[in-house]
């Protein structure tokens, strides 16, 4: 292991010195030109990454920026603006033109749809945010389409597993043999220890669904399709909200008692503890939301930056090194995909456990 690290370090130093040598060989003019191009490239990579992290109204696999061509397909836009407005995202031409529907003009600006006048003017407020009206946007975006497709795949996968159990008399065969240990792990090592033998069964459906949902979407995010679902704050907010609601609505009396009137402490402490505990109720799902979002987004940013670095280096040592690094990070991201799904499920189970815990009020 240490030997390997030494090799990597040596490789790094060699490639960096090679890169700097490469740079000095150019004349000053060329150097400036290269720098300018590089800056341009870097800007483009940055933009690309930011664009990738956001949801988009069309499904673009790759773009040719020189020719201004995008390869992909357009998706339906569904707006609520004094009535339902449905049209294809091809009307926006990837944000280059305004879409005119029923006499209204809409502009796609930084991934969001604004109502504009016929000239497409965007007014800004003092924080440099667009002040135009945003119609409610229920579009089938890239993320929504991914959600639909993956949900159908998940349904097909798990229903076929359920069928195979019925057919094989409860003996797991094929993919069931691979996924059953995971299902059992969630039941025996996540649900039962955290929630308890008595109450765990009613939470199993949610825990299993959320685990496989997060895991599969983390994994699909690692494919070159450029889908980023679990790294989107709206998705993680929705998941955390469901965990939060389930926790509150299944909570037993002792749970509320522990929040508002902590047993076993002096009454002054009870008063101090109540707001803290109440805050904790909201902080827990908030942390769930941020953790998943931040981990997956960070993974995507690092991976895309490394891939972008290959083009910045433009020499075979640096580029191949970053390729190797990107590969290594991809492997780590595979682990992170599973780990984040595990953590989300685990913590959800823990919160459910708090909700149904039956204390003897001795402590």
């Amino acid at each position: 292991m240490q030997k390997k690290i030494v090799y990597i370090l040596a490789f790094l130093t060699i490639s960096f010195s090679a890169y700097s040598q490469h740079a000095t060989e150019h004349s000053k003019e060329q150097h400036e030109l290269v720098q300018h191009e590089e800056k341009n490239l870097r800007e483009r990579i940055k933009e690309n990454i930011q664009h990738h992290l956001k949801d988009s109204h069309d499904f673009v696999f790759f773009s040719d920026t020189k020719k201004g061509k995008h390869y992909g397909f357009s998706l339906p836009i569904i707006l609520w603006d004094d009535g339902l407005k449905i049209f294809s995202s091809s009307k926006f031409h990837h944000g280059e033109t305004l879409a005119e529907v029923d006499g209204n003009h809409y502009k796609l600006y930084h991934g969001k749809i604004y109502k504009v006048d016929a000239q497409g003017t965007i007014n800004y407020d003092e924080h440099h945010h667009p002040a135009n009206v945003k119609p409610l946007d229920f579009s089938i975006t890239k993320g929504v389409l991914s959600l639909i497709i993956m949900s159908v795949l998940m349904l097909w996968l798990f229903i076929s597993i359920a069928r195979s159990y019925k057919k094989n008399n409860g003996v797991p065969k094929g993919i069931a043999g691979f996924l059953e240990p995971i299902i059992l792990y969630i039941r025996d090592d996540i649900a039962i220890p955290n929630i308890g033998e008595k109450h765990y069964a009613k939470y199993m459906n949610y825990l299993l669904t959320v685990f496989f949902f997060v895991w599969f979407f983390n994994l699909i995010g690692l494919t070159p399709l450029g889908i980023n679902v679990t790294g989107n704050i709206a998705i993680t907010f929705a998941l955390a909200l469901i965990t939060f609601l389930i926790t509150q609505f299944t909570a037993k009396k002792t749970y509320w008692k522990h929040i508002f009137w902590m047993p076993g402490v002096p009454w002054l402490m009870k008063i101090i503890l109540a707001p803290i505990e109440l805050l904790g109720v909201f902080i827990k799902p908030f942390a769930l939301m941020i953790r998943l979002y931040a981990n997956i987004s960070a993974g995507h940013i690092v991976l895309m930056s490394l891939i972008g670095l290959m083009f910045v280096f433009q020499n075979w040592i640096g580029s191949s090194l970053t390729f190797f690094l990107a590969f290594a990070i991809s492997l780590i991201e595979l682990l992170v995909a599973l780990l984040q799904a595990y953590i989300f499920t685990m913590l959800s189970a823990l919160y459910f456990g708090f909700a149904v815990e039956e204390h003897d009020d001795s402590h």
Partner: protein, 166 residues
């Protein structure tokens, strides 16, 4: 935080809630329930199989213990029977021996008696015969001796002589 709020898309949130709940509902009904039930059934089956195997083992153990006990009893029984038979045999032999001795003694005594009797008879017979024979011889002698006058006279003389001696 500002960026986070700016990135938040209500449409995506709405679809996520809707699709996730739908997925949850469908998976619950058509996947998780059958899968978890199948797993549970199987686990219970294994548990039961193990339990019944354990029971069978216990029963087997009991059976073996029973067998052992019965065997032991049988062995003891046999031992006792043999012992009894042995004593009986000895007794019988002893008894037989006693009887035989008695009988033999009796026979011998009888035989002895008979022999004695026979002997006495034979002796008596012999005596009689000897007496007869002696008388015959004496008769003949006497006849021979006394068939002439001279001899008779000689004899009387002699006898007289003996008497005189006496």
């Amino acid at each position: 935080m500002d960026k986070l709020l700016n990135d938040f898309s209500f449409g995506l949130f709405f679809w996520q809630i809707f699709l996730f709940l739908l997925l949850l509902f469908l998976l619950k009904k058509y996947a998780w329930k059958p899968i978890l039930n199948a797993v549970k059934d199987r686990e219970e089956g294994i548990q039961n199989a193990l339990k019944s195997a354990e029971n069978a083992r216990k029963e087997m153990q009991n059976l073996t213990a029973d067998n052992e006990r019965i065997l032991k009893e049988a062995r003891n029984n046999r031992e006792e029977l043999l012992k009894e038979a042995r004593t009986m045999r000895t007794e019988m032999i002893e008894e037989a021996k006693g009887h035989a001795q008695l009988e033999a003694d009796k026979l011998i005594a009888k035989a002895k008696e008979e022999i004695e009797n026979e002997k006495q008879t034979a002796i008596t017979d012999l005596k009689n015969q000897v007496a007869d024979l002696s008388i015959g011889i004496a008769e003949k002698l006497v006849k021979d001796q006394l068939d002439s006058k001279g001899k008779q006279v000689a004899l009387i003389e002699k006898m007289l002589k003996d008497v005189k001696l006496n």
